[in-house]
């Protein structure tokens, strides 16, 4: 077969698909994938209805240990008129590359969410979620942990938030997060905001690193994880994650042991093609 023959044969694609290819794709929650630079889209504005946890005035200072020239306060509501723009360059990664990142991976339920503000050398509003951990797939994670999110779900978002926009108390999700250490954070020319002053782990984006059961369906970036694009439960995601990080599932081990005992060769379990 020659390449020209293949090109010619592609011309016989179904009419509807050829026409559909030119249809403008729908945009969900604004642009997700970034060509060169992305802007943070802030939805917080005066006049938005806010849940009780965020209403009212005032803030409560929070002690810091590692941050330099940055003060933290727990907020009862996002500050009015807050707004900033930030460039981000999202490098497109294959799933294998995403799982090769130095993240911990765990499953858990959000028990609490608190809104905070960093101000001084770095101005930013963020959320810390307290999570009851039910399963750890990789890394060291305690039974409960805290997770820094650079969004305020339902109020302040950005183009990398993905499923984090729908994270709520009671949500169950699988998180791929980075341990917050004394060296992790945001450095500016005037100081340093350290994630470790806020939480045990931090999640810089939701698009590729969070799989959320919102209660109304499973939310994750299916275009990235095409192998499980049809997944409908976190259990299916869990099986996939275990395979991707090279962890043998208990069922597969039992099956292989059984067939080896009987003298038969174990079944080949290659991944799908198109």
């Amino acid at each position: 077969m020659k390449k020209e023959e293949l090109f010619r044969a592609i011309g016989a694609a179904e009419e509807e698909q050829v026409m559909d290819a030119l249809a403008a794709p729908k945009r969900r929650r604004g642009p997700r994938y970034l060509a060169a630079a992305a802007c943070l889209v802030l939805l917080a504005a005066a006049g938005l209805a806010l849940p009780r946890i965020l209403r009212g005035g005032g803030s409560t200072p929070v002690d810091t240990q590692y941050s330099v020239n940055v003060a933290l306060s727990e907020l009862s509501k996002p500050p009015e008129g807050s707004g900033s723009s930030q460039s981000a360059d999202l490098v497109w990664l294959e799933p294998e590359e995403i799982f090769a990142l130095d993240t911990v991976i765990f499953r858990g339920t959000v028990e609490e969410m608190r809104c905070y503000e960093a101000h001084g050398a770095y101005d930013h509003v963020f959320t810390v979620a307290a999570i009851a951990v039910s399963e750890v797939y990789r890394g060291e994670v305690e039974d409960t942990c805290t997770l820094y999110l650079n969004v305020v779900p339902g109020h302040v978002t950005n183009s990398l938030a993905g499923p984090l926009d729908d994270l709520r108390v009671g949500s169950e999700a699988i998180f791929m997060a980075y341990p917050a250490t004394a060296e992790t954070g945001v450095r500016t020319d005037k100081g340093f905001f350290c994630y470790a002053d806020a939480a045990d782990f931090y999640c810089g984006e939701g698009i590729r690193l969070v799989f959320l059961d919102s209660g109304e369906g499973l939310e994750f970036e299916r275009e990235v994880y095409q192998e499980i694009a049809g997944a409908a439960s976190l259990d299916e995601v869990e099986d996939y994650i275990r395979r991707m990080i090279g962890e043998e599932s208990g069922g597969a081990e039992d099956a292989e042991q059984g067939t080896q005992e009987s003298g038969a060769a174990p079944a080949d379990s290659g991944s799908g093609g198109a």
Binding site: L6, A9, V18
Partner: protein, 184 residues
Amino acid sequence: MEDRDIVTLFWARSEQAIAETARKYGAYCRTIIGRILPSREDAEECLSDTYWGAWNSMPPQRPRCLPPLLGRIARNAALDRYRSNSAQRRSGAFEAVLDELAECLGGGSAEEALDAALLEDALRRFLSALPQTSRRVFLRRYWYCESIEEIAAAFSFSPSKVKSMLHRARQGLKQFLQEEGFSL
């Protein structure tokens, strides 16, 4: 004029069918041809071949909409002329499209005759199995011959993401064709 009315003109063997087709889809056909043939002279001759091909296609065909049929005729006419052109008159951009498709062929040297109808049927099944966005990206690249940058802009993707999606689709196509028994 609605496509069905233009098709009716073709069936009635009215020369107005060509005029209406040129008026409504001339730019569309030129765009597709232009991505394959960089020479304006070649492109204009190919456009005429496209209208002639449409005239010979209807009847017996009676498409519900004309763009896919016209685009297919334009692609094939442009490809025929491209193959007969010397290297100096070829489009580097289109050569890149063909080279990408060559990745699906495994570098083999199979010489036996190819059943085009079987291959077309297999490709339709492959495309139908692709996720919608992947299929859109695939067809924009290999049906419409759009550039990576054009596709990235249309979907608000990064060019690297488009390349990655196309690479996965080509690998999937290669595996699919092998499983279907095609000699690559």
